[in-house]
């Protein structure tokens, strides 16, 4: 089922001569988890801004092609209505705090207040999301005094509480430790299981390989590769083009070069582990 369709979309920021996005043609289906990777300045954040409707509603500039959100052109959508449909968490945790609330609890409830949710439901939703993000110890704190990682989790909680159908998440783990990063991916996976459409920009490719349904590799404003994680990361061209790939895929490709390939190109640590165990058991058996 189609959620967001991009048809030959190109975009130039105001006063910029270069195209931030070039001839993008892609369909994001409902209920799927899309991992978006690529080097800096590849157009990942611009793609997020486009899908979220900030282009053209917030950022002007030259937009060509069609961006259809639930079948309706983004230009025809009321920008304020899009915020009730698509949740957006972006990179900088320091500007995602409203600055007008005294406690984290109230900060998380801000979006719900704007959506006109009644108080009982608001409190229930906030409790659930606080438990989910494991930020129970933060609820009484002033959001303006939190660290970057804490603010990132609060911003994430604030958007999840709004229960949008589509979530656009731009590097949510940039300030988090490995344990919190794993937690965030677990939560994103859980949101996917609830039928939400997720677009995640992330540099942690091992986790993208493990969790996403589809991977998009962006390069110079266009989608260079797309497909299932297995299809994309099995492509040896990615290494030659300097695209980061999961450790398990790197190991697989290395072994293949040395004519000692696994049964298939592994992309997750678990798959690599199983292949190694299998090989070890074969070696042990031969003795």
């Amino acid at each position: 089922m189609k959620g967001i369709e991009l048809k030959n979309v190109s975009y130039q920021y105001p006063l910029s001569e270069a195209f931030a996005l070039k001839n993008i043609h892609y369909t994001f289906e409902k209920g799927k988890f899309y991992g978006i990777i690529g080097p800096n300045s590849a157009g990942k954040t611009t793609l997020c801004n486009l899908v979220r409707g900030l282009i053209p509603h917030f950022y002007e500039g030259e937009l060509s092609g069609d961006v259809l959100i639930e079948g309706k052109d983004v230009r025809e959508w009321d920008g304020s209505l899009l915020s009730t449909k698509i949740g957006y968490i972006f990179q900088n945790p320091f500007t995602q705090i409203s600055g007008v609330k005294d406690t984290v609890l109230e900060e998380i409830a801000l979006g719900l207040e704007n959506l006109g949710i009644d108080k009982e439901e608001m409190i229930e939703r906030v409790i659930n999301v606080v438990k989910l993000l494991k930020i129970e110890d933060l609820i009484k704190k002033n959001p303006n005094n939190l660290s970057g990682g804490q603010r990132q989790r609060v911003a994430f909680a604030s958007i999840i509480a709004m229960d949008n159908d589509i979530l656009v998440i731009d590097e949510p783990t940039s300030q988090l430790d490995p344990e919190s990063t794993a937690d965030i991916f677990e939560i994103i996976n859980m949101l996917k299981s609830q039928g939400k459409t997720i677009l995640l920009v992330e540099h942690k490719v091992d986790l993208i390989a493990e969790y996403s349904d589809e991977v998009l590799v962006m390069e110079n404003g266009h989608i260079a590769y797309s497909g299932t994680p297995s299809d994309v990361f099995s492509n040896i061209e990615l290494i030659d083009r300097g695209v980061a790939i999961p450790q398990a895929a790197l190991l697989s490709h290395d072994l293949q070069r040395q004519n000692k390939p696994f049964d298939f190109i592994t992309i997750t640590n678990e798959q690599a582990k199983q292949q190694i165990m299998k090989r070890m058991s074969c070696v042990n058996g031969s003795y």
């Binding site: 957006y88 972006f90 500007t95 995602q96 705090i97 007008v100 009644d118 108080k119």
Partner: protein, 260 residues
């Protein structure tokens, strides 16, 4: 999880202090009346009494320390500055003494005392109100009166952005210091160190404003739904309404007594 804290939002969050728990608009009404009395009295003795009265009110609200810390500093600065300016420049028939180009007169001193106590008493009304009223409660009260949601957000966010700007300036100054640039010393040195900071400070503020606007949009700030509130204000009790009425009648009686 602190459920007691969470569920405290189900009802108005009262402090137990009758003065602090007054509706923000009641408090505003009281401080405006006091400031008007100070203005209309045309007497430094009344203004000085009002200044003392603020401390009493702050003590009643349990905020004496916080209020005093802020008000004494501000009052001394503004009061002394205004007094000196008036005393030095207002001419009169009763010179007291002369130094350099200035002749200090009894009239100048009198007007200086009156004007400085008046301004300090008006400032006191503002400081007292901001000390005893949470900004969000005031904005909520204004929204209940029909003020747009965006107005209250802009006012609250402006307060926070002043703090943010200060923090950012400190951060840039620290970075400069880490690079070996002299940021401390006499006033001239400090000014010289601060001027180059202005550029990144202003540009950073503009960028963060744009991101903040996106962040607020992500929180459905302009959603068409009528917004609700997690915090709520107590319904104004009858005794509080009568109290406001009494305060306002007192003002009217004062005006009648003073001018008719």
């Amino acid at each position: 999880m602190d459920y007691e804290f969470i569920y405290s939002f189900k009802k108005p969050q009262l402090t137990g202090n009758w003065f602090l728990d007054l509706n923000p608009l009641t408090k505003l009404n009281i401080v405006i009346v006091i400031a008007i009395i100070s203005i209309l009295s045309l007497s430094w003795q009344v203004s000085a009494s009002i200044i003392a009265f603020y401390f009493l009110l702050a003590a009643l609200a349990g905020c004496l320390k916080r209020f005093s810390k802020m008000y004494i500093k501000l009052g001394l600065l503004i009061g002394s500055l205004l007094f000196i300016m008036r005393a030095m420049f207002i001419p009169g028939d009763h010179p007291l003494f002369t130094f350099w180009l200035f002749t200090i007169t009894q009239e100048g001193i009198d007007k200086g005392i009156w004007f400085s106590t008046l301004v300090v008493s008006i400032c006191g009304a503002i400081v007292l109100f901001s000390t005893i009223t949470r900004a969000k409660d005031f904005m909520y009260a204004l929204e209940n009166l029909g003020a747009p949601h965006s107005t209250s957000y802009i006012i609250l966010a402006s307060f926070q952005s002043i703090i943010d700007l200060g923090d950012r300036a400190k951060l840039i100054m620290d970075s400069q210091k880490a690079r070996g640039i002299e940021t401390e010393g006499n006033l001239l040195q400090r000014i010289k160190a601060f001027i180059p900071v202005m550029g990144p400070l202003v540009l950073g503020a503009i960028t963060s404003t744009e991101e903040k606007a996106i962040a607020m949009e992500a929180r459905a700030f302009s959603a068409p739904e009528k917004n609700t509130h997690l915090s709520e204000l107590r319904k104004v009790p009858l005794w509080e309404k009568l109290f406001v009425l009494l305060v306002n009648i007192s003002l009217i009686l004062f005006i009648i007594w003073r001018f008719i």
